[in-house]
Every structure is written in C-alpha cells, then in structure tokens.
Amino acid sequence: MSKTQFPPSITSRPVYGELEARSGSGHLMIADAEGAEAILDLAKSVDKAFWAKAHIIYIPKTTGTAYSSQLEELGAGQFYAGPSYEAAQSRIRRALQDCHMGTQVYLSGTEGLMGQAMAEATAAGIPHTAIQTEHRGSTARRMQCVHCKGITEDVTTDPFECSHCGLSLFVRDHYSRRLAAFQGVRVDAEDPGNIPEKVELFK
C-alpha cells in the first residue's frame, strides 16, 4: 500500500510522519490494518534488544492474517492481535498505565486508530508532540456529527449519513484531538432537502 499524500489543510487537521526507532525504556506500538507495514519498515533498522522492550497491539481489520504473522515474528516482548479498537482499548489503557516515562509510543494505520490511541496516550500523560504517527492504508475518516454528537467510523463519502441521527453531513477537515474525530455538519441546513450528490472521497 503506497503512502498517502494528504493535501494541505487547516491547522487543526493532523499531519503524520514516518515512524523511526527512538531510544527509550520501552516501545509501545499500536497499529491497524496496513499500519503493520510501517512497523515492518521500522524493523529493518533495529536489533533484538529493541524488540525485547516492545509491546505491539495490532488490529488486522480486513487484512486477516496477511500481516499479523510477520509482526509476531519480530519477537516483541508482548504481542496482541485483536478484532477491533474497542476490544483492544482496555489492553492499551493497561499498557499505558504500566509503563514509565521514557516509553516511546508509535502509532500507524488509519486516522481513526491513530487518533483514538493518541487520545489515550496523551490522557496518560505523554505530550502529543512526542508521539510518532504514520498513516498507512485506508483514508476513511472517523466523523463526529456536531448535531447529535454520534460518531460514525470509516466514512468514505462526502456527504454521508450520520449513523446515529440520519442527517446528511458535510465532511469537514476540522478535527478534534480530544474526540479523535473530524466534524460533520448538516449539509442541507440552509436549504432542507437539497443534498448534493455523494462523492467517494476516501478509500
């Protein structure tokens, strides 16, 4: 999967980098789907000692076992593969609770995964600027409806229907770090019923 170049946007929109191994007392890696590739790339430049202190939490999503066996072979001190972010969340919280200052956090995969894991890590006390991210895979967005506050995962079109209240929402670049979600605003607020044709913006 090639890396996505996101077009320039407003300042609240997150920007992502490229994972690099940094020295630290531990390495917590959280990834979903093609995010595994970022970890596998990073693995080319590190030795065994690095993996001894690493903890990988991986959510394969639709990629099945395509990556999980490769990740497991890296020999991380702890490896976990789970069916969904929700399922992995308590493990992420626990891992953050148990680690000390000096632990490096690496996030890769979709924006929804990185955003939510980032919110957990910052709540645990790591400055967000110290957390590494790399986008891989789907560009689908995690959207919050500003009207009913419901969150719709993996949004690929603009506009889209809120999965909670059913309004047609315009996909904005405005991003909330706290919610780890972009904001969706009713597209036909001024002219009810006038809903533009859906465009598939994200894959």
């Binding site: 940094r22 007392s25 200052m101 645990a124 006390g125 110290a130």
Partner: protein, 321 residues
Amino acid sequence: MSAGTAKLNVTVAEVKPVNDLVTRFKFVRTGGGDLPTFSGGAHTVVEMQDGDITRLNAYSLMSNPADRGAYTISVRRDDQGRGGSRFMHGRVKEGMEMVISNPVNLFSLDLRAKKHLMLAGGIGITPFMAQMHQLAMMGGHFELHYAVRTASLGTYAKELSERYPGKVHIYHDDQNEAIDLKTLLANQPLGTHVYVCGPKGMINWVHSTAGEMGWPREAVHSEEFLAPASGKPFEVKCAVSNKIVQVGEHQSLLEALEAAGIDAPYLCRGGACGQCETNVIGYDGKFLHYDHWLTDEQKAGGKHIMPCVSRFEGKTLVLDR
C-alpha cells in the same frame, strides 16, 4: 526605562542571614497594600542603587504565591560576581525603600503534568519553594531531590524536609551523596514532568540524561539565569537613537544602553527570555554569544544579539536601537 514590565515600590521588611552564603529578604509594598499575584517559579528584577550604577538582578520569588502581603527572595553571595549580590548582602537593610519589577514567570509548572519531579542544586532551590507551596495547596503530586554542598550550606533543606515529609530528598556533596538520576528517571510514572534549577552542569546533565532515556523534550524544564560576562570594552553605534555607546569591561551591553538612556527591553537579564533580542544592522568583528535564547544558526548569522549577556569584539557594531 520602558522595560518589559511595571515596577513596584517596596520596603524591605526583613533581612535574615540563612547561612554563611545566603541571606533572605522580605519586601512589602511601600505604603501598604497587596502585591500582584504570581505563580510558582516567577522571578522579580531587583533594582539596586549602587552609587551612580544601577544594578538590576533577577531573583526567584520563594514565598507562598497565595500570600500577597509580601515577597521573599534569597540571595547567595558571590564574591567573584559583579557586585549585585554583595550589594544585597552588605547594603540592603530593613526599612530601606527599593524598586522591583512585577513578577515574570519563565519557569512555570506545567499543570498538565500528573507528577512534578523537582531537581535542585544549591541556591536553585528558591523557585521550587514557591512551586511547592502552590502544589501543596492544589493537592499536586510532587517530589524534590535537592543537592547541597554540606548540611550547613543546605539552604532551607531542614525546613523543607519538615514541611513536606517523605517528599524531600537531600544529597550532601561532602558525604559523597549524589542523585541517582538514571534510576530516578527510569521509575517515573507516565505524565511526570521534571524541573531542574541549579548550576549549568546539573542542568545539562538532566537534559541529556532525560533525552537519552527517551523523555519527551516538553516534559523537561529548566531555569538558569546567566550572569552577564565581563570582557574587553567595546563600542556600539545605536542607529535609531543615533548615539555611540561605550560598553565597559564589567558592564553588560544592556546596562550600557540603559545608562545612555536608550530604550532597551528586558525581562530576565540572564539570556533566557528573549525579550532583549536586538537586530544587528552591521558589524566588523566577532560576537560572543553567551545567551541560551538564539539558535546556533542565528548566532552564526550575525543578525541578532542578546544585549543582557552577550558581547562583541572588533571594530564596529551597529544596532537597531
């Protein structure tokens, strides 16, 4: 003088020797009334009228930030210094009227931290005293590791150990006790911020050790005010005010500008805040940059100077002042 902040007229309410090197001063507002609030880590610039020289030194406020009745500072005598601390020790008496600046904080607590780990060396203890008052009031989580030369020179070490039992750890140089920094840093829970105030070597040691151990830069805080360096006298042309100013051997460029009646802003007078940054219009010679404000690139670029601590050697220096 238009400097960064407003001035306060104060009266010295108490002068108290703490040990062989350190004396404590308490200021109240002249004519009564409250002083402005400050937050832990703030400093004030004390003006000293030493004959026709006005000395201005920054000192950390060590009193309880919630107490607006008085400010307290502690001054360590530096016999090798340029004279500010000797003036404070020798000439400042109870009842004397003085002028100090409004508090400015360049070393504030990061209140997002879940725990505050404080490392002090010598007189570097003072900003932490106000911060500990503040944290104790808020129910904050903190721990102090304080390196002193000897027990008798351990300024406030005893008081602090009594005031915050279990939170204060004292290390005596003369007993070969040293902070085990690696172990200390390795065991800190996520969300800890570390603060260091003390000699330059200690500050560098904490920054580099924390960096090597993977601590985020944003979680490591330090404060160090530099004393203006002495050096060869030099001449400056001030383009805006159209004056030529001589900077003496033991005078800082900032002091020389002030003496010449040129508007020169400052907040810390110690190369840390950035307030005095001045554009260089032209020069022929070399800069002696002592500040820790400008980046290495800027220092090499020859377009900026921090007059509070930095100097110049050469033929001509033209400033945008």
